[in-house]
Symmetry: C2
Subunit: 333 residues, 2 copies
């Protein structure tokens, strides 16, 4: 038996999640059965998509259940194994986050290589957020090197890789963020060509100033006014990868869609939604192309770290508020 703590969904959030929508519970985990491993989680991920799973709506993933522990990506160390393929001491990535210890089938855990990057990177630039950026930019938006690229939530785990990857492939890159500190981060550290704080005024004006020649690709993490701005600013043949709409995740009423969508006709625009889990086969290319760039420091990433399982709900709430710079993580041990 191993004593562990986990975060459960206490109530379905209405609007912005509150701490009382979550509860911390203590559990005793049995020892691993045949084919199972026990993992001591070192890092767990909080990601915007989790907000959708907290609603009672069938979506592309099942809703979380009230009273059950939440789930999500985590990395940790195998501390007990009843499976030949995973030994004690192995670092692994798996989907039973939001808890200190995870008991799971060995086949549901994937070994990670901490020579390429530190373990936490497998929750960010070399994990699901990294693959989201990679697939969204290259496959969904069909990025070409002479494209001018705009990405929102550009200081986050996905957006910061979108921008840097587009830069390494020859593009001019514009990012939007929610603070002047993040603007400086994009310009000074990540090498973006232009950046703006979307809170500074009308999104279309801000984007037009940052991209006077227009844009060809928009990687959309937020929806709302910035999607309107992108549609207005796009050049003919532009492409929008619809990845997220964090501006409406907490909405309790219907937020209006982009009023200027009919411009997509005359401009021959393509808007395409995608889900990263459809594209697991591209993970190898992510590791081959981005892995060395990360190892050599040519692609940078940051982490915003919250300490301890009890603070995981606050980390998640802060993520939806945009309080993170880079990947939002919870350190568990």
């Amino acid at each position: 038996m191993t004593a562990s703590r986990e975060i459960r969904l206490a109530d379905r959030p209405v609007g912005e999640p509150r701490p009382s929508d979550f509860e911390l519970a203590e559990v005793d985990l049995p020892d691993p059965g045949p084919g199972e491993v026990l993992v001591r989680n070192r890092w767990m991920s909080v990601d915007p998509y989790m907000r959708g799973r907290m609603n009672d709506l069938r979506s592309y993933v099942q809703p979380f259940e009230i009273g059950a522990p939440l789930e999500g990506a985590a990395v940790g160390e195998v501390v007990a194994s009843q499976a030949d393929e995973l030994q004690t001491g192995q670092q692994v990535l798996h989907q039973l986050g939001w808890r200190e210890y995870a008991l799971l089938p060995a086949r549901a855990a994937r070994p990670i290589d901490t020579d390429v990057a530190p373990d936490s990177a497998y929750l960010g630039v070399l994990g699901m957020p990294g693959l989201t950026a990679y697939v969204g930019l290259l496959d969904i938006a069909e990025h070409r090197e002479d494209d001018i690229v705009f990405v929102s939530a550009a200081a986050g785990a996905v957006g910061s890789l979108v921008g840097q990857l587009a830069k390494t492939r020859g593009s001019r890159v514009i990012g939007s963020v929610g603070s002047s500190e993040k603007v400086a981060y994009l310009l000074d550290e990540l090498g973006f060509d232009a950046a703006f704080n979307y809170r500074d005024g009308d999104a279309t004006e801000l984007l037009s100033r940052a991209a006077p020649e227009g844009i060809d690709v928009y990687f959309d993490n937020v929806g709302g006014d910035q999607l309107v701005a992108a549609i207005s600013t796009m050049r003919p043949g532009g492409r929008i990868a619809m990845c997220g709409a964090v501006s409406v995740y907490n909405a309790t009423s219907r937020e209006p869609g982009p009023w200027n969508l009919p411009l997509a006709i005359g401009k021959r625009l393509t808007l395409r939604g995608f889900i990263v889990s459809d594209h697991g086969k591209r993970f190898r290319q992510l590791m081959e192309e981005v892995g060395p760039l990360v190892r050599d420091g040519k692609i940078k990433f940051r982490e915003s770290v919250v300490e301890g399982i009890a603070n995981a709900p606050e980390a998640f709430i802060g993520l939806l508020r945009g309080e993170n710079l880079g990947k939002m993580l919870v350190r568990l041990s």
Copy 2:
């Protein structure tokens, strides 16, 4: 010299065009110069896209100029020629509609084959509207035979071919229209599988009833609530060809965009705008595939005919109101 009459733009319409936005003028046309022909127009087309050209906004086509004659597709007979390639008596298609006689370079007129279909069909099912339907369904929406297809403005020149073409290629087809007479036309004459009058209630409810299994393709001629309905009803991987947004062409304020657009992420939808003039190279395939079907009566089309150049503005205003069944035409002689 030939006496002719033409319709000029008197004022840029605000909202729905009024008769006073147009003026009828008498002109004397000189005889054709070298390389020119004089065409007596028999039919002229009114099309929804013309509304956009009446605004003072640079779009994918130049705005019409105040005081100048309007333009658009027309067919007629060459009555005088100073060009070797076109003889007197030849039936031709050209872009100088909105007038009784057109003086133009012979290379701007294309001979038509009235053995395949009557001359007026080259303004509809075998003309620009037909090519719009063909390209939008096959190339933009990437139609596959097992797709369930929804088309709005389905009794119009474009929509009625979209539906019939999808049927000949194996699809279940649902159409929306603005009257019960048109519903009957779709079901009884064009062979649609289901049809509804969008004025009968909430578009999403009406579409869900007509397409209980969902839809895979939406050919969008109208925007507005029907686009919302299509997004809600789409199955994963669905595709939307954005062809027109007649619901907002006359708008004087910002109409809200589809509030449910974020559903496109989880459903992996693609929305793609297009302009038929980019796709002239597909005209040959339209004639090869649709020409014989029209000749053999397997693809049907109707025309709503208004008589005389003086009534052309009324024809156009009626078109935007949806008063036509099939292609709206003005007979000039």
